[in-house]
């Protein structure tokens, strides 16, 4: 028993024994950043942590990604706030790595730098017509309705027809489908951005198609979200019974994953129920379309550069070993008309200067969170004092909770490295950061600035029966923070 005790006890007090505090900088204030901060604070009594974010507001995708009709998921902010308010932790918003300061400067100022800035870009399809207007990545649309200051003026085309196509069948696809199809009276009491609510109130979209390359057994959505969408009143779900037939390989996949099995069962139930509902002229429909991959986007001549539909190729599944099946085109095509397309096919991280990056996987090469020096070279050579956590480390998959374990792994690597003597010399830490930012006239937003934004949003929200009315422009956010 004592064998297990000795190690954590020693490490817990290690940095208080050393002559200087451990200075840590975490880049990114979403779940990965905050869980990392939380665990470092608990493991190292002498650690001082600065969390920086390019936005004036903290919390990453919990604020800008989680859908307005999912308020319980946002409760995680409470724990993150407690961490930010810890006496050994500071938040500095409106500080952008790459523009306001360089990675090399951060590494000079801090013993440990953890990059947790997520994935702010998108996977591309690489098919003709992708740059037509009316085609957006789901991330842009989500940021638009969640009031992200970079996308408040997106102005998506919601009035050109009654049909929108969503490529992808993950939870982000379901989120955007729900926001497009939910009665706006229900959205009016959420924290959805005002400009989005107004636009949706005038939207003519009544039919949404969720397109997946593969079948229901491979769909990336999860049970909770599916159950929710099937339960929405007056929303008719359409699934082709023929799409539900399973192959032996499908059976094997379901046997190995209880999640897949439960989702397949939910989809089957939804398909059976759909057949019995009556047609209603103003009804809202959500169609699950399986075994179709987009070949190109269509454009009507008179629309002048605007999307008018998607040309889809039918697919079949092919086993590629170890239980995995991929979609293969059959050469049979069909068109699906629409005036808006949302690509929900995955996020992608953005590289920065001075940071090793694996462009194929879209992540920073790492071993248990330690950044690897050369992506194509030996995995054993890592950058001292440089770590990653969250989507930047693992790719854009998982839920908020996934970051808990991701942070545990990264913080364990940090702990091991500190024991090995990575952090011997004194570093300037916060003091150095503040001096540098002042020299460059960067208007950093401290946690107290966020509290002012928070209070203003809540106060404006209470006037409209919403939990908050988000401030959606950089000017408004920075003004409220000061």
């Amino acid at each position: 028993m004592s064998r297990y005790l000795a190690r954590p006890l020693v490490s817990r007090y290690l940095s208080s024994v050393s002559s200087h505090p451990l200075h840590v900088c975490i880049v990114g204030s979403g779940p990965a950043g905050f869980y990392t901060a939380d665990k470092i604070l608990k493991a190292h009594e002498g650690a001082r942590i600065d969390i920086i974010d390019r936005l004036p507001t903290p919390f990453g995708l919990v604020r800008s990604g989680v859908a307005p009709d999912h308020p319980e998921t946002k409760i995680a902010i409470n724990q993150f706030s407690r961490v930010a308010q810890h006496e050994r932790c500071s938040f500095y918003g409106n500080v952008k790595l790459g523009s306001d300061l360089l990675l090399s400067e951060l590494r000079d100022l801090y013993h440990v730098v953890v990059l947790a800035y997520g994935a702010e870009s998108d996977k591309d399809l690489g098919i003709p017509g992708e740059s037509l207007s009316g085609i957006y990545s789901a991330r842009e649309f989500v940021w638009w309705y969640n009031g992200h200051p970079d996308y408040s003026s997106l102005k998506p085309y919601l009035k050109r027809s009654d049909t929108a196509v969503i490529l992808g069948q993950g939870n982000v696809a379901l989120d955007v489908a729900r926001i497009l199809l939910r009665p706006t009276t229900e959205l009016a009491s959420t924290d959805i951005a005002r400009h989005a609510l107004s636009a949706l109130e005038e939207s003519s979209i009544r039919k949404v198609y969720l397109i997946g390359r593969r079948g229901p057994v491979q769909a990336a959505l999860t049970a909770k979200e599916l159950r929710e969408v099937v339960g929405i009143k007056n929303l008719h779900i359409r699934i082709k019974e023929t799409d539900l037939s399973v192959t032996p390989a499908d059976e094997e996949e379901m046997k190995n994953s209880r999640a897949r099995k439960r989702i397949y069962e939910l989809l089957s139930k939804a398909a059976a129920a759909a057949g019995t509902s009556e047609a209603d002229p103003d009804q809202r429909e959500l169609h699950f379309v399986f075994f179709r991959q987009p070949d190109r986007f269509l454009e009507l001549d008179e629309r002048m550069g605007h999307v008018s539909g998607v040309n889809l190729e039918k697919t079949i599944l092919e086993s590629v070993g170890s239980g995995k099946q991929i979609a293969v085109g059959t050469g049979e095509f069909e068109d699906l008309n629409c005036s808006m397309v949302l690509k929900a096919i995955g996020y992608k991280s953005v590289p920065i200067n001075g940071l090793p990056f694996d462009h194929k996987k879209g992540v920073v090469p790492n071993v248990k969170g330690r950044v690897v020096s050369h992506p194509l070279g030996s995995l054993s050579q890592t950058e001292p004092g440089l770590y990653v956590c969250g989507w930047l480390k693992r790719g854009p998959v998982g839920i908020i909770a996934t970051n808990l374990y991701c942070a545990e792994e990264t913080v364990e690597s940090i702990r091991e490295d500190i024991e090995e003597g990575v952090c011997k010399s004194a570093k300037a830490g916060s003091k150095g950061l503040i001096e540098l930012l002042e020299k460059r006239e960067v208007k950093k937003v401290e946690y107290s600035g966020w509290e002012k934004i928070d209070a203003k949003e809540k106060q404006m929200g209470s006037e409209r029966n919403k939990p908050r009315e988000k401030l959606v422009t950089w000017d408004d956010l920075l003004a409220a923070a000061n």
């Binding site: 604070l41 608990k42 409470n78 724990q79 999860t222 908020i400 909770a401 996934t402 991701c406 545990e408």
Partner: protein, 197 residues
């Protein structure tokens, strides 16, 4: 065992993280400093904690009746069961949990590192625990669809996994052992091998 408890007390005293999470936890609003529970000869009288609890109870009618009986005023004590947590370092932590309390709350009251991001809303899986003995797992109520939906996504899911906020202490669970999943600890080392579902 005493060294165990003393070191835990020591590390807790040094801990600086605020415990205000208790205020919002599970809508029960209980703040309890449980130092007294660990060291029976501790100078901090249990009664002091109890009267604070009593005061809270009197102020807040939302408390469930099971908590009202933790008061020592009437001279009776709520039945408590023994629960053993096995944390990511392999440390066994023995706590006593009043019947009716959920395991997540019990963990927080004893400073056990079990996250509860959504504060019992069944909107996350951060309070995921692994019931180490199948016998005890079978004594639990069946999980609801909503709990199963969240468990589907839990890290390190096993056949005997549950969400801590949904496990309510009852007499039959006395002696239950719960492991906290870890990204860095290999459970197989202790002879317990979680079966991938």
């Amino acid at each position: 065992m005493l060294f165990h408890k003393l070191s835990r007390l020591g590390s807790r005293i040094v801990k600086e993280l605020p415990r205000e999470r208790h205020f919002s936890m599970c809508r029960m609003r209980i703040l309890q400093r449980s130092y007294g529970q660990y060291l029976p000869s501790s100078p901090m009288p249990q009664r002091q904690t109890m009267s604070f609890q009593e005061a809270l109870f009197l102020k807040n009618p939302k408390f469930s009746t099971s908590f009202s009986t933790t008061s020592e005023k009437s001279g009776e004590e709520t039945e408590k069961i023994n629960v053993i947590f096995v944390d990511k370092d392999g440390e066994e932590i023995h706590i006593k949990v009043p019947v009716g309390m959920n395991i997540l709350e019990a963990a927080h009251e004893n400073d056990i590192e079990l996250e509860g991001a959504c504060e019992c809303s069944l909107a996350c899986s951060t309070c995921h625990v692994i019931v180490m003995d199948t016998e005890y797992y079978n004594k639990l109520e069946e999980p609801t669809d909503e709990e199963n939906d969240m468990l589907d996504l839990a890290f390190g899911l096993t056949e005997t996994s549950r969400l801590g906020c949904q496990v309510i202490a009852k007499p039959e669970l006395d002696g239950i052992r719960l492991a906290i999943p870890s990204a860095t600890r290999n459970f197989a080392v202790d002879g317990f091998v979680p079966k991938p579902h």
